[in-house]
């Protein structure tokens, strides 16, 4: 991304001579802030068209309905097996949009940086964001940077917001769940949470599990093209698949029943859960969705999912019922029944 202002061998993505770490001035609105924007953010996020920097980005839109979502990212460690806070921040917001059936058209990125953060770390995160955005087919068009003192942030925090267009005739929301709807899960669960936990201080353990972080808008687009009347979509992030099922059951005031044996859990995730005393159903995913589809659309939706890389292992896990409104019930592997509920707070590894 050579620019007329790039002089004396500025290189992307390490933009700031004399500063290999973030200093307070990078958030101060002065020259250092400008340099960060011009030499790091713009080259990474702009697709090549020359842009005019302004307080707000302008985005042309067609008529119809817009989806609008925001999310903040505070993951520790910043880098983990298969990903980092940067791709999470892009994929997470793209997925929030996609769960209303929307295709993303523009995003913002806000950074809260801790003084002393290595510039190379920021550059690597920004590059990961740029790659994730390109993969999802969305542009990051506006942003903001603030710097806080040492000890006031965990390296860096990222906020993203995004807007997307919802195709005509698509109406996907929790309130549309109906008795008889079939519940589909897009693939194996638990990978993101286990990948992050395995690298967290105090819990390091050897595992090949990598985050499943991925933008789901492509998969959702294929699903909608195959069958537009999908009732509910939800990505199974914090709280895992359990949280999705419980939230939908509560908000639609319907019962949900699922078969524990139908839930695909990778062996390495099952092993980690077993020794840490965690439940894979509660563990966060960053590239998995749960779909509620009326029976007449199930075959088409499943076919479309199986043809997409991110839905190849999609499976039916249960169905919506009119009984026990607000409650999720599982049939255990042994054939007994139990109520499924979200844990109170974060899951805590057990003693023995």
């Amino acid at each position: 991304m050579a620019d007329a202002r790039d002089v004396d061998g500025w290189t992307c993505p390490v933009p700031l001579r004399g500063h290999d770490r973030i200093v307070m001035g990078h958030g101060g609105g002065g020259k250092l802030s400008s340099e960060l924007i011009e030499h790091l953010f713009v080259p990474a996020f702009n697709d090549g068209a020359r842009i005019e920097l302004h307080d707000a980005a302008t985005v042309p839109v067609a008529t119809g309905r817009l989806a609008f979502a925001t999310d903040s990212y505070v993951v520790r460690p910043l880098f983990f097996a298969g990903g980092c806070i940067g791709d999470l921040a892009v994929n997470g917001t793209v997925n929030d949009l996609a769960m209303s059936g929307a295709q993303p058209i523009a995003m913002s990125a806000g950074f809260i940086l801790e003084e002393g953060l290595p510039m190379a770390t920021l550059a690597a995160v920004v590059e990961a964001m740029a790659m994730a955005a390109a993969t999802a087919g969305v542009q990051i068009v506006t942003g903001d940077t603030k710097v806080v003192g040492v000890g006031q942030a965990d390296g860096m925090y990222v906020n993203t917001a995004g807007i997307g267009m919802i195709p005509e005739h698509v109406d996907i929301r929790p309130g549309r769940a109906r008795p008889g709807d079939v519940v589909i899960l897009s693939g194996p669960i638990g990978e993101h949470g286990v990948a992050v936990l395995s690298t967290r201080e105090g819990f390091e353990f050897g595992t090949d599990v990598r985050t499943d972080s991925a933008a789901l808008n492509g998969l959702v687009g294929d699903m909608i093209a195959a069958f537009a009347d999908i009732h509910v979509l939800r990505d199974a992030t914090r709280g895992g698949v359990t949280a999705v099922l419980c939230e939908i059951a509560a908000s639609a005031q319907l019962g949900i029943e699922f078969d524990e044996r139908a839930i695909p859990i990778p062996p390495a995730v099952a092993a980690a859960c077993s020794f840490l005393g965690l439940d894979a159903m509660h563990i966060a995913n960053e590239g998995k969705l749960v779909a509620f589809v009326p029976p007449r659309g199930v075959d088409d939706v499943m076919d479309a999912m199986h043809r997409h890389d991110l839905g190849r292992e999609a499976c039916v896990i249960g169905r919506v019922v009119a009984d026990h409104p607000g409650t999720v019930v599982a049939r255990t592997a042994l054939g007994a029944l139990r109520v499924v509920d979200v844990p109170l707070g974060e899951q805590l590894p057990r003693i023995c």
Partner: protein
């Protein structure tokens, strides 16, 4: 998955259940001692699948649940000190003391950290010589060897800034207390497999002789638990009372001799107060005199803290198997995971929490044909 899928096989479970049903002619009451077994039973619905005449009652083997209130309050006092890094197993963090819990102490500025191993706390002490690192050494015989090793290492490395708040408890004296308590209706015990992996099975012979109850050392996966139950019932139906090892892939008669030597080196047996149950003679470990300088209660002068238990919480009756959690008047009303009156509602292995998590609807209210699996 080795040991996960195999020990969760529905077909084998059905045949074990069939054997149990075929051999059972009378009502029997069986206690699973360990909270991990309780969790497995409730999570998998094993008690629903057994013949109606077999009742499972849940024992005191949840280390979080039986740690007395005064020790929790001591931990909270130490954790709030500015010079202290307080390290604990994760599931102790939410256990309520008389006025707070460790998560709240952390939110108020205390440096409270969840670790997976006490050796991580030793490393923290070495890395932060300017801070005092305290490890909350709770649990049964299972966790004790690693905790003993941590103290031993700290001594070897001359780490004067490391200490442990010890509240270790022992399984055999608890079984003895339950079996000899008035009104005990336990016909047989499933002993805790992981405790026996350390201590072996020999400790249980005197109990079997004295109380004429079968004790079967049992694992934690669904098939382990079913096999343990089957063996207890077979003994009961034939009038036997023996120690049996149904977990031989992990447990031997001698146990882990190296670990036992480490325990002898670092700990001395002592009388111990059990939350909800009261004092049981010679039922715990304290630091041996030669390691007394690693005692956090003495170092931070909190050993005077003594707190009475809540009068409304019947966790003692639950832990002794006298009532089911749902038979407590406070269950699910004033006592929930959000507002626990007692520790069994907090720990993932606590019987009250397991009932609250998995059993809020009675089985009659839910009925479901198996979902057809369209998995592609």
């Amino acid at each position: 998955m080795k040991y996960l899928d195999e020990f969760n096989d529905p077909g084998l479970a059905a045949s074990l259940l069939g054997e149990i049903a075929a051999v059972t002619t009378r009502p029997w009451t069986i206690m699973e001692v360990c909270g991990g077994q309780t969790h497995s039973i409730i999570r998998n619905g094993i008690d629903q699948l057994l013949p109606d005449t077999i009742e499972l009652v849940h024992g005191p083997g949840c280390p979080v649940c039986v740690t007395p209130l005064n020790i929790i309050d001591q931990a909270l006092s130490i954790a709030a000190l500015p010079e202290v890094i307080f390290c604990s197993f994760g599931d102790m963090l939410r256990v309520p003391g008389s006025g707070s819990d460790l998560l709240r102490v952390r939110s108020e500025g205390g440096d409270v950290r969840a670790v997976y191993s006490p050796l991580d706390a030793v490393k923290l002490a070495a890395d932060h010589p300017e801070r005092q690192v305290v490890f909350f050494a709770v649990g049964f015989e299972t966790t004790a060897p690693a905790n003993a090793m941590a103290v031993h290492l700290a001594e070897q490395r001359g780490l004067d800034n490391f200490s442990v708040l010890v509240s270790h408890v022992l399984v055999p004296p608890a079984i003895e207390a339950i079996a000899s308590s008035q009104g005990s209706r336990i016909d047989g015990f499933l002993a805790a497999g992981h405790v026996c992996s350390v201590m072996g099975t020999r400790q249980y012979e005197p109990l079997v002789e004295r109380f004429s109850v079968p004790i079967v050392v049992t694992g934690f996966e669904p098939l382990d638990v079913l096999d343990g139950i089957r063996r207890v019932v077979v003994q009961l139906e034939s009038g036997q009372a023996r120690v049996e090892n149904a977990y031989p892939r992990v447990v031997t008669e001698q146990g882990n001799v190296t670990a036992q030597q480490m325990l002898d080196e670092v700990f001395d047996v002592c009388d111990r107060n059990w939350r909800g149950i009261g004092e049981i003679p010679r039922s715990g470990w304290r630091l041996a005199d030669r390691y007394a300088r690693f005692d956090a209660a003495a170092r931070f002068a909190v050993d005077g803290i003594d707190t009475p238990e809540s009068g409304r919480c019947r966790s003692g009756d639950v832990l002794r198997g006298l009532i089911k959690p749902s038979e407590c008047a406070a269950f699910g009303v004033e006592c929930t995971p959000r507002t626990p009156l007692g520790a069994p509602m907090v720990s993932s292995e606590g019987a009250c929490a397991a009932y609250h998590q998995y059993r809020r609807l009675s089985v009659d209210e839910i009925s479901m044909p198996p979902t057809s699996n369209h998995r592609g």
